[in-house]
């Protein structure tokens, strides 16, 4: 028998508390770019720094933010979802079909529209996880299909929710005075998604799959089922975004959506989530989405000629991501 005593050689358990503080610090630092940009605009423009504009920025972040939060899950698994833009449009149309065309009450129609997003996600998940089609292709195909179906189902015409005043309240109403409900909803789903991602089995497996899918599978986790589940879950956010955008616009616009996927993915990546999977956070995604909104808003408020706005936007994103990287390396 081995009769061996460990001779104290235990390694120093530093890390622990220090590590936790360090990682929190990094997240705070990630805010820095956002704060710097916000401060800059506040100084150069008399119109920028106001409560109203603050809310306007948040309001304009809602749709992209919702899509970005959902797709953060998919990206952390190492996947990508190009169908969220046109998928959102299709969900908006479905919401119109349910509520306006079929006359379902809001309490039924809205959940159905959100579930429809989940259904699209489910199909994506099946294509990716079971049929092993690369996520880029599977979701590109879904993007095309959703684009077409949105036009077919709406007869290429916006579906107006004029007769469902409650619907518009989903986005524009004020449960809390001066704060649009849409902003509250964004905050709520961000918190829920954050908790799910960090505190639950779903989140842990999301990271594990993205980190090393084969090792996760060999560890006895039913990776295929979880992947299908994660895509479907992310699809719910597409559905919700569809509801929110149509509530905000008062109509389901069948063609408004293409291109949103790129913005949402950009928000996720600016927020520090890696497209190769295994890393990422909801708070990062929110910050990424806000950086884009603040830049869009600020540049416009400064009346920068529009063709220059994109040039500046591109440069600032580069600089923000670059300094963020430097900071992380040094932190």
């Amino acid at each position: 028998m081995t009769t061996v005593k460990a001779p104290t050689a235990e390694p120093q358990r530093t890390g622990g508390v220090a590590g936790a503080i360090k990682s929190r610090l990094q997240q705070l630092l990630a805010f820095a770019s956002l704060i710097v940009i916000y401060a800059f605009f506040s100084i150069v423009s008399p119109f920028f720094f106001s409560y109203g504009n603050f809310i306007a920025i948040l309001f304009s972040t809602v749709v992209i933010g919702t899509l970005a939060i959902g797709t953060t899950f998919v990206i952390i698994t190492g996947g990508i979802d190009l169908s969220i833009g046109t998928g959102m449009a299709l969900c908006a149309v479905m919401s119109g079909v349910f509520i306006v065309n079929s006359g379902l009450p809001l309490a039924v129609g809205v959940p159905l529209a959100i579930l429809f997003g989940g259904l699209m996600g489910l199909v994506n998940g099946i294509n990716v996880a079971l049929l092993k089609i690369p996520p880029f292709i599977a979701t590109l195909a879904m993007m095309l299909v959703a684009e077409g179906l949105a036009l077919v189902l709406s007869h290429s015409t916006p579906i107006y929710f004029s007769d469902s005043p409650g619907y518009i309240e989903i986005s524009a109403g004020n449960l809390i005075p001066n704060v649009p409900n849409a902003v509250l909803i964004l905050a709520a789903i961000a918190i829920i998604a954050g908790v799910l991602l960090t505190k639950t089995v779903l989140g842990r497996y999301t990271y594990s799959i993205g980190s090393n899918e084969e090792a996760t599978a060999l560890s006895g986790i039913d990776v295929r089922r979880w992947k299908v589940g994660i895509y479907a879950f992310a699809g719910l956010f597409t559905g919700l975004a569809g509801v929110m955008i149509s509530a905000r616009l008062g109509s389901a616009q069948p063609a408004t959506g293409m291109g949103y996927e790129l913005q949402a993915i950009a928000a996720v990546v600016i927020g520090g989530t890696s497209l190769s999977g295994g890393k990422g956070s909801i708070i990062g995604t929110l910050i990424g989405a806000l950086i884009i909104s603040v830049l869009n808003n600020g540049l416009q408020i400064m009346s920068i000629p529009q063709e220059w706005q994109n040039v500046i936007l591109g440069c600032v994103i580069l600089v923000a991501v670059y300094t963020d990287r430097i900071r992380k390396r040094e932190a």
Binding site: V63, P158, A172
Partner: protein, 300 residues
């Protein structure tokens, strides 16, 4: 020209914020130029923004929000979807900012006036000329820039309606949509020509579509097609001069910009305005293209 401050005109004159349906395309650039010229002449300032495509309804709403944050003295607005902007128009009203609608009507009683062309009537004019040129018989195709935006639908439906009503001998193929992308429109055109050897004429609903159709016809080598277009731009003007294209309908975007600023300034001064200010549209072809009135409406 816009200059680096982005404001047309100069000094400390009243600020007129213009939210358009687009900014990259020449049509909107011409509106912008008209607005800036007029503002410069009258000592006002303008800003001009528009979403990247006519599908970006939400982006336009955000832009409208941001412009209102600047508390302009008046707002020029070409709505992609009027109802989507209703709450913001309400807000403009409560901030006492007069709204001037342009390009297409805004479905609301808030705008003090609407400076617009009747797209449907203009499209009908194009249909009429096409029908005449092919003798009221045969197959025609449409290459439309968009199937959901108001301008796309009006320019499509104006054409289709006129044909349905007035040209029983003409078969209209299902409209095809090229997104206003020249290359895609060219490829579509070639497919249409390949699939319909007996095609007589093609209608293109905006400048990008028209350039594509011209290219597609040229590349297919098909002779004897009658092409009618919409808007202007050098490619169409050249094609008309060379006889490749029969003619086109154009609005007068520079004038639209001028009238817009003019109306906005009047609204700021609480002057009375008519409910609607019609900017003209013109049919132009080889015969009248050098007419000064037409020339003024065309952009290169």
């Amino acid at each position: 020209q816009g200059g680096d401050t982005g404001g047309g005109g100069g000094g400390n004159g009243p600020l007129i914020a213009i939210v358009s349906k687009g900014f990259q395309h020449q049509f909107w650039q011409a509106v912008k130029k008209g607005a800036e010229d007029e503002a410069a002449a009258k000592g006002a300032r303008t800003t001009f923004v528009g979403p990247a495509t006519e599908k970006d309804v939400e982006q336009q709403v955000n832009m409208l929000t941001n412009e209102l944050a600047k508390s302009p003295k008046a707002l020029g607005f070409a709505a992609l979807d009027s109802r989507a902007a209703a709450p913001l128009l309400q807000q403009a009203k409560s901030q006492n900012i007069p709204v001037v609608a342009f390009d297409s009507g805004v479905d609301s009683d808030i705008p003090v006036t609407t400076v617009a062309t009747d797209n449907k009537a203009a499209a009908a004019e194009a249909a009429k000329h096409l029908a005449e040129q092919i003798g009221g018989q045969g197959k025609v195709a449409l290459v439309v820039h968009d199937q959901t935006s108001l301008s796309g639908k009006d320019r499509r439906d104006g054409f289709l309606d006129w044909m349905a009503k007035n040209a029983p001998g003409i078969t209209v193929l299902p409209p095809q949509y090229g997104g206003g992308d020249q290359l895609e429109s060219a490829n579509i055109t070639k497919s249409i020509i390949a699939a319909n050897p007996d095609l007589k004429g093609i209608y293109a609903s905006n400048e990008g579509s028209a350039i594509g159709v011209i290219k597609g016809v040229q590349e297919s080598g098909k002779q004897g097609l009658t092409i009618v277009g919409f808007d202007s731009g050098k490619a169409q003007i050249d094609a008309i001069n060379s006889g490749l294209m029969a003619g086109a309908v154009t609005q007068d975007p520079v004038d639209m910009g001028r009238q817009l600023v003019d109306a906005a300034l009047k609204a700021i001064n609480h002057e009375q305005l008519p409910k609607r200010i019609d900017t003209a549209y013109y049919w132009y072809d080889k015969t009248n293209i050098n007419d000064p009135k037409i020339q003024a409406a065309l952009y290169q």
